[in-house]
Amino acid sequence: MAEEPLIFARGLVKRFGDFTAVDGIDVSVERGEAFGFLGPNGAGKSSTMRMISCVSPPTAGELRILGMDPVRDGVAIRGRLGVCPQLGNLDTDLSVFENLTTYARYFGLSRAEARRRAGELLEFVQLADRARGKVEPLSGGMKQRLTIARALVNDPEIVLLDEPTTGLDPQARHLLWERLYQLKRQGVTLVLTTHYMDEAEQLCDRLVVMDGGRIVAEGSPRELIGRYSTPEVVELRFAGGADVAVKLDGVGERVDSLPDRVLVYARDGDAVVAEVHRRGLAPLSVLVRRSTLEDVFLHLTGRTLVD
């Protein structure tokens, strides 16, 4: 018999007054998966995450987490989740170590167990040398790692990460990705939101693209790229501007004209570049690259992912 999905939503809706943040989404996350919610700010990702975290009751629709009802069984479900919120809410009155031990106590761990867990987790997120220090002087990346450590203190079955790397420098992001990948290998189910395409491609087995509270596409990163984009994309910049797009008619499979550049979607990027030159066009710059989720997003929502 197939195991029930860890997270199951049908027609899930969240309204705040007149505003509909989440407008009837269907989601199902299996054990051991890394599942992503991709979308711009205001797409409804965080509202969805809060409902899954059992800190926000759904307005309508069905939602089951770990086979339970989040409204009725919130206490039991939250005990098995690890939540890493978008806004840092580490306790600045406590030391780094105490942030973890205190949190562990909320889950009913004994003092000794809490200390043992805290020590292990600080090693895992490479903050062991900061254990006795305060939270405030930590860098953004360190705080985020500490928040992730805190989310792991109860050995959760599902870890929910709301934009885990927003605002971090590239090094900090890569360290974080690496740790999340390790978690995934240990069998922890990861659910994350992001508006970074590379992050979704790096971490997610499967993802949904959200826009305006709805799911506009679903699949693995490769599937989505295959379905909504072409293998390669040529980015062209011209001195003149908008009217160039007309002259590119018929080049590649599809042409997208953005304010600052023109994107040509094609199976073979080099062939596109040759055709552009054959037509006598002289772009300022040419970049042939592989298609990314960004292109998928652009295609689905008709705009770039700039927040």
Partner: protein, 275 residues
């Protein structure tokens, strides 16, 4: 008494159904950790003790020398003896209030401490109970010191002090719970001015410095409706006398206030944070 017990049972089942003592203790433990990690908190703690003590010395003892005696239950007592239990009640009130207003408000609104806590199995009512227990610890610390001072200065007997101790705790509990409920309504730091003014008004006119019977009758009625009056009467009745059935009324008032405060605070925290 019967109604109190029935109400108590309803409260246990309704408000406190499924409450885990361990999780409440974890919320208290968080505050113990914060206390350990810095000296700033100790200073706040000490200042809260000295304020009522200074009032006792300046007004109770100082002005008391000019006033002479005041009748309490038909028996004339030294003015300082009259004022001291009131200052004890005030000390319990402000100890609990400062914990559940300033500190809770900051954690609730700015530090987002409770947002993090609510992502765990801890429920709003457990946060509220934990904070209240902590406020009570602070309040009992003040109360104990103050009672020692009272006994040393000969303002109450040891027996009176022992009897007044739980009464002061009840005052702390009632004001702590009410303070937490109020914190959930405060919009910003500017609202603390209102709170401070309200607290100061209670401090001046709750039968603290003169018997309420000396006030015009309308004023007296108003005062008998306010909480600190009941706190002062209860503590004074036990520390100085006379002990009588009216003390049960004062105690009941404070119990109802504590439960109502708890209920409102739990509801509001749930309503505002779990959206």
């Amino acid at each position: 008494m019967m109604t109190l017990m029935v109400a108590g049972r309803a409260v246990r089942r309704g408000l406190f159904g499924g409450v885990s003592a361990g999780r409440v203790a974890a919320v208290v433990g968080r505050n113990v950790g914060a206390l350990r990690s810095g000296p700033a908190y100790w200073l706040v703690l000490l200042s809260g003790f000295f304020e009522p003590l200074l009032y006792l010395l300046s007004i109770g003892v100082g002005v008391g020398a000019l006033v002479g005696t005041v009748p309490v239950g038909g028996r004339p007592v030294e003015y300082a003896v009259f004022v001291a239990p009131a200052m004890l009640a005030v000390s319990a009130m402000s100890g609990a209030l400062s914990e559940t207003t300033f500190n809770v408000f900051f954690k609730f609104k700015y530090a987002k401490t409770y947002d993090a806590v609510l992502a765990t199995p801890v429920r709003p009512v457990e946060i509220v109970l934990g904070e209240l227990v902590w406020a009570l610890v602070r309040c009992l610390f003040y109360t104990l010191l103050f009672l020692v001072v009272m006994v040393v200065l000969g303002l109450t007997s040891v027996g009176g002090a022992v009897a007044a101790f739980p009464a002061a705790a009840l005052v702390g509990l009632a004001f702590g719970a009410a303070g937490m409920a109020i914190s959930t309504f405060l919009r910003g730091w500017q609202d603390f001015d209102l709170l401070t003014t309200g607290q100061f008004t209670l401090f001046l006119f709750s039968g603290t410095f003169s018997p309420v019977h000396d006030y015009p009758v309308v004023f007296e009625v108003v005062v008998t409706l306010t909480p600190l009056y009941h706190g002062v009467e209860l503590v004074r009745g036990l520390a100085v006398g006379p002990a009588g059935w009216t003390l049960v009324v004062h105690a009941a008032y404070l119990v109802v206030m504590a439960v109502a405060g708890l209920w409102v605070a739990s509801r509001r925290i749930g309503k505002l944070l779990l959206v």
